[in-house]
Amino acid sequence: MSILVGRETRLVVQGITGREGEFHTRQMVEYGTPVVAGVTPNKGGQTAVDGRVPVFDTVAEAVAATGANTSCIYVPAAGAPDAVLEAVGAGIGTIFCITEGVPALDMLKVVEVVREAGARLIGPNCPGATSPGRAKVGIIPGSIHREGRVGVVSRSGTLTYEAVQAMTDAGLGQSTCVGIGGDPIIGTTFLDVLKLFAEDDETEAIVLIGEIGGSAEEEAAAWAADHLNGVPMAAFIAGRTAPEGKRMGHAGAIISGGSGTAADKIAALEAAGIRVADSPTELPTILRTAGFRG
């Protein structure tokens, strides 16, 4: 198996004719991801990526014509909430929203509609997910991966790559690597991904890459303590040196009122039996120490 993306993925790319959409669709196609369709209103009938991907006016048409079941969204922030809602309306089950800069109150409504429809949204402002050797959806460089049995979940972009590279360099392949995005309101949380990893028979160890702000790492740790006993796990938390009350780059990293600090998160993870690395390069060692032989 693998989670979120895999052999059964049939991808439609929303915003495929934009600069980012076109570039990353090419990367996904070259990685071997089954990109079956693209959508850009008013460009229906064209093709993208040297004629390899048909373009439709609406997601509904793309689904009807190609059986797409997963969407990846590169449309600009102003149109991204509507793009997610269109994917939901067309019956897409798994939706990755790569777009950054989407207002939080828009996402509040969007995640509610996604929930009502029983669909799954990853992001926004996320790098996507890769199941090495099968499919990659989003913008994570394909070259950093290696097939294997470690599930990686992260709130960051390039820090995810750093952690994945560290695993690959140490010879530890990945089942699926998921970037959930660092925005305040996101569709899929650490906890949601841990639950998916727990049910995935190809994932035998888990790496969690968190950062300061919010309480998602603490919630994930509490659940893991009860449900992931025996699964080798390692974590890294960025922002130990971040000063209080300052925003570090994106809205995900605010420390408010003494909670959400790196120290709090590290304590919560350690209390759950999850060792926290001082550097991403230490993650493989922690997993091996925890008994993982992958």
Binding site: T158, E162, P184
Partner: protein
């Protein structure tokens, strides 16, 4: 983006909430003039409040009462001379001093965990709500607004009864609580706080009768930066006094930059990786001089601008560049670094680590240009710390 109390009050007023009148003064003379008008209107006292975007201004002497125009001028002069938590006070708010019968707390925040707007109310207003939350959490009543319909009347009533604010004030409380959420939605705020929400006694002018009224005596609003593009009018509320000039330049270039106290300048792509880089600098025994995220897909001009920002800080003794190319192309960054070094005025040691997209080409360019490079982030941090130490010694 945080905005000043006076601006927050303007937004609440625009949404129809009851906010007593106020003036803003940039000089003691203007504060005197405002106080004179307010006292002539039959008020006994005025309150003068520092307009700074940090908490604790009361304890810092930034909020004071005055009973005469002379006193108001003196008090304003004193407050305008303050620097609170490093921020010089440039403006004061002048308003009639309210005759407060009772204080409450009311706030609406975007709650990440529940993915809802949560409205909180407490009968223990006028004090730090974080303190109340720590000591007596049961004194804070909460409801989660409906994601589509907002705060419903019954939810507001539930808060009102929860904090003992039924009776004659029930209707006004409901309207204020709904107004807070409406303000949040209207301006894409992630926090709208009124502390205190107060019952104030007001005389009818003749002094014969006193009525009680529920009003917003203070206001705090934080705006969602991602939503600012659709509220261009709010950009004017950005407080230039509260930020470093370097911050403004960085924002104009689309670079996330926060100035810190260390000696090792950092240039990184991605916020999480930038924080990690800082953490590893610290772990290697150094102190980061800044947080700097050049964002995704940065071109050489952005790299050059980031370099200027870093070098503008005289404390910087070494620079660590850490790029994990995904959207960002390593060769573009390398070219930007080479160009920037060619024109830079200070010669500061630099350690560059570029991996990912086009990293080989980047490595070739950097080696050719005799940059010090590193393969791993740990190594890069160690080298940068060593270089800074060498300069410092």
């Amino acid at each position: 983006m945080k905005i000043q109390e006076a601006d927050a009050k303007s937004l609440l007023l625009a949404q129809g909430l009851p906010v007593p009148a106020w003036d803003v003064a940039r000089t003691a003379a203007d504060a005197r003039a405002a106080a004179t008008r307010i006292l002539a209107d039959g008020n006994d006292k005025v309150v003068v409040k520092a307009q700074v975007l940090v908490g604790g201004r009361g304890k810092a002497g930034g909020v004071r009462l005055a009973g005469s125009a002379d006193e108001a001028e003196a008090v304003a002069a004193a407050i305008l001379a303050l620097t609170i938590k490093g921020i010089p006070v440039r403006k004061v708010l002048v308003a009639p001093a309210a005759d407060i019968a009772r204080e409450y707390y009311l706030g609406a925040i975007l709650d990440r965990a529940s993915r809802r707007i949560v409205v909180m109310a407490s009968a223990e207003g006028g004090v730090e709500i974080e303190e109340v939350a720590r000591v007596r959490p049961e004194a804070i009543h909460r409801v989660a607004a409906h994601p589509h319909l907002g705060l419903l009347d019954w939810q507001a009533r539930q808060l009102a009864f929860g904090i003992g604010l039924g009776g004659p004030f029930l209707r006004d409380f409901v309207s204020i609580a709904r107004g807070l959420v409406a303000t949040m939605v209207a301006y894409d705020a992630d926090l709208v706080e009124v502390n205190p929400l107060a019952i104030v006694r007001e005389s009818d002018g003749t002094g014969a009768a006193t009525t009680e009224r529920l009003v917003c005596l203070d206001a705090k609003i934080t705006l969602d930066d991602s939503a600012l593009p659709r509220h261009p009018e709010l950009e004017a509320l950005r407080d230039p006094d509260s930020e470093d000039p370097a911050d403004a330049e960085a924002r104009a270039m689309g670079i996330a930059f926060i100035h810190l106290d260390g000696s090792i300048g950092c240039m990184v792509n991605g916020a999480g990786l930038a924080m990690t880089t800082m953490d590893l600098v610290k772990r290697a025994g150094g102190e980061p001089a800044n947080f700097l995220d050049i964002g995704g897909g940065a071109r050489s001009d952005k790299v050059a601008a980031a370099m200027r920002l870093i070098l503008a800080d005289p404390k910087v003794r070494a620079i660590l560049v850490n790029i994990f190319g995904g959207i960002t192309r390593g060769d573009e960054v390398a070219r930007g670094l080479i160009e920037a070094r060619a024109v830079q005025e200070r010669d500061v040691p630099m350690v560059v680590r570029i991996v990912g997209t086009n990293a080989e080409e980047a490595g070739r360019l950097l080696t050719e240009a005799r940059f010090e490079t590193a393969a791993s982030l740990d190594e890069a941090a160690a080298k940068a710390v060593a270089a800074a130490a060498a300069v410092g010694s």
